[in-house]
Structures are given as structure tokens and as C-alpha cells.
């Protein structure tokens, strides 16, 4: 059976809250924190269960091109990134982020590639299109 475009996640670290299905488009990014893969949506944080980000990346890599390994500890949903901070190597998920806004880190070596992919996804080669600097 193919992937149905949702992630089966849970709200509690011990799994006692049961499964929830979160559509891929709702996930901003996955991060690896305290040996757990965690999925961040706009308002929630879920536990994904994967024992390593490498394994999860291998699983999702060829399946959904919106997701990209931006850093050793981050896999971001590029279609949700609204602003790139080249100085601090961060991707924001809103155009006017505030200090409490969620963000993912982007390895300095990959930020140009992220920028290129975002421009491509937005249907333009213009570096300013939909991406702040």
C-alpha cells in the first residue's frame, strides 16, 4: 500500500494519547530532539516515533519532494517556508516572524539549495519571490 499523505503521530511521548493522522501539508518541519523525531505544526508538537532522522529521511525522501533535509537535525516542509534568514541560517514559516515564531535551522552549506528549491516551487527563478532575506 502506498503512502496516503498523512503522518501517524501521537501527542504524548509514551503513546498513551493514541494515534493522530496529520496531513503532510500541515507539518512545518521535523526535528530530532532528545533522541526523538518530533513533528511541528503551526500550533502543535507531535511525536513521530522514528528512532533516527536518517531513517525517516530515507523513508520520505523519494516520496514527497516538499520535504528536504535542511540540517542534520531538521527536515523542513519547503512549501511552508515563507522567509529565509541568511544571517542566522533559519527558515521561518511566516512572512513577518516574531521572537516566538517557529523556525527550522538550515545548514549554511544548504541554504543556497533551499533558496533555489523555494524559488522553483514558487514558479520563478527570482530569488526574492516569496522568500525574504
Amino acid at each position: 500500500m502506498a503512502w496516503d499523505g498523512t503522518f501517524s503521530l501521537t501527542e504524548t511521548e509514551d503513546g498513551s494519547a493514541g494515534f493522530v493522522s496529520v496531513p503532510a501539508e500541515d507539518v512545518l518541519f521535523f526535528s530530532f530532539d532528545r533522541n526523538l523525531v518530533v513533528a511541528h505544526t503551526e500550533h502543535m508538537v507531535y511525536f513521530a516515533g522514528w528512532d533516527s532522522l536518517d531513517r525517516f529521511w530515507k523513508a520520505i525522501q523519494g516520496v514527497d519532494s516538499r520535504f528536504y533535509r535542511t540540517d542534520r537535525n531538521y527536515i523542513a516542509n519547503l512549501s511552508r517556508i515563507r522567509k529565509l534568514d541568511f544571517e542566522w541560517c533559519r527558515g521561518y514559516f511566516e512572512e513577518h516572524p516574531n521572537p516566538r515564531s517557529k523556525f527550522c535551522y538550515i545548514a549554511r552549506i544548504r541554504i543556497r539549495e533551499v533558496h533555489r528549491r523555494l524559488a522553483f516551487m514558487n514558479g520563478s527563478t527570482s530569488p526574492q519571490n516569496g522568500v525574504g532575506t
Binding site: M1, A2, W3, D4, G5, T6, F7, S8, T10, D14, G15, S16, A17, G18, F19, V20, S21, V22, V37, M44, A48, G49, W50, D51, R55, F56, K58, A59, I60, G62, V63
Partner: protein, 133 residues
């Protein structure tokens, strides 16, 4: 947030461990082998993202009433058990393409599983004699 009844798994059979969505009800049993949880359906074996059977048991018990712990390393879909060998401690599942799937049932869990199957049989056919060997 709702759960659509599927869980994310990976399949080594497709060569690159890509993510799949499989209905929880399609699984016959989950078994912990070499620190990996493998999920057996009638015709395939998948690897689950979770590495702890306790965590998986919590997730499943909060989301479904079909699975029971039958051994320290195994959770079985009791609704899919076709025959229970109480002497050898083996649960037999539906045969698919000539390959029978089975899992061990620990002695400490046997009576509980037996009475569960009897109840199930009673509610389905009114007889429990055929299933229990």
C-alpha cells in the same frame, strides 16, 4: 485531530525503505526482533517507526481494541486469529498464498487470550469449539 486508521511503516521489500500507510486492522501481529518492531500482514512484513513495544502497545490500546499482548515480544490482532494451539502456545492466522503466519503465545497470556477468543467466537458464530485446539 482524527486518526484515519492507518499507520506509517517502511518496507524493505521495495528496496529503499520508503514510507507506506497501512491500515492497523490489516496487521496480524507485531513482533519485536533485534530492537525493531516488525508488523506482519497476511502477505507482507513491514518495519514500524517505533522501537519500543510498550510505546506501541500504548498507542494501539488507545486507538483500537483489536490487539492484545500475547507474549513479551508480541502484540496480536486477536480478531485475525484463526486457530489457537494451546498446547504448543501458537496462534495461527489466516493463510495467504500457502504461507501460514503464526506467532507465539506465552503461557501467562494463554487463558486471557483463550477467553477473549471464546467471547469473540460466541458473538460471531455462537461456537468456540472450532477455534481452540
Amino acid at each position: 485531530m482524527n486518526w484515519n486508521g492507518t499507520i506509517n511503516v517502511t518496507s524493505e521489500e521495495d528496496g529503499h525503505g520508503a514510507i507506506h500507510s497501512v491500515k492497523l486492522d490489516d496487521f496480524l501481529f507485531f513482533v519485536l526482533e533485534e530492537r525493531q518492531i516488525l508488523g506482519h500482514t497476511a502477505d507482507r512484513v513491514y518495519r514500524l517507526p517505533w522501537g519500543s513495544l510498550k510505546m506501541l502497545a500504548n498507542l494501539i490500546s488507545a486507538s483500537s481494541d483489536q490487539f492484545e499482548k500475547v507474549d513479551k515480544a508480541c502484540l496480536a490482532n486477536v480478531h485475525k486469529i484463526k486457530r489457537l494451539d494451546t498446547k504448543l502456545g501458537i496462534a495461527h492466522f489466516a493463510v495467504n498464498g500457502g504461507r501460514e503466519k503464526k506467532c507465539f503465545v506465552a503461557e501467562s497470556h494463554m487463558k486471557r487470550i483463550q477467553s477473549f477468543l471464546e467471547k469473540l467466537q460466541r458473538s460471531e458464530t455462537g461456537s468456540s469449539e472450532e477455534m481452540l485446539g
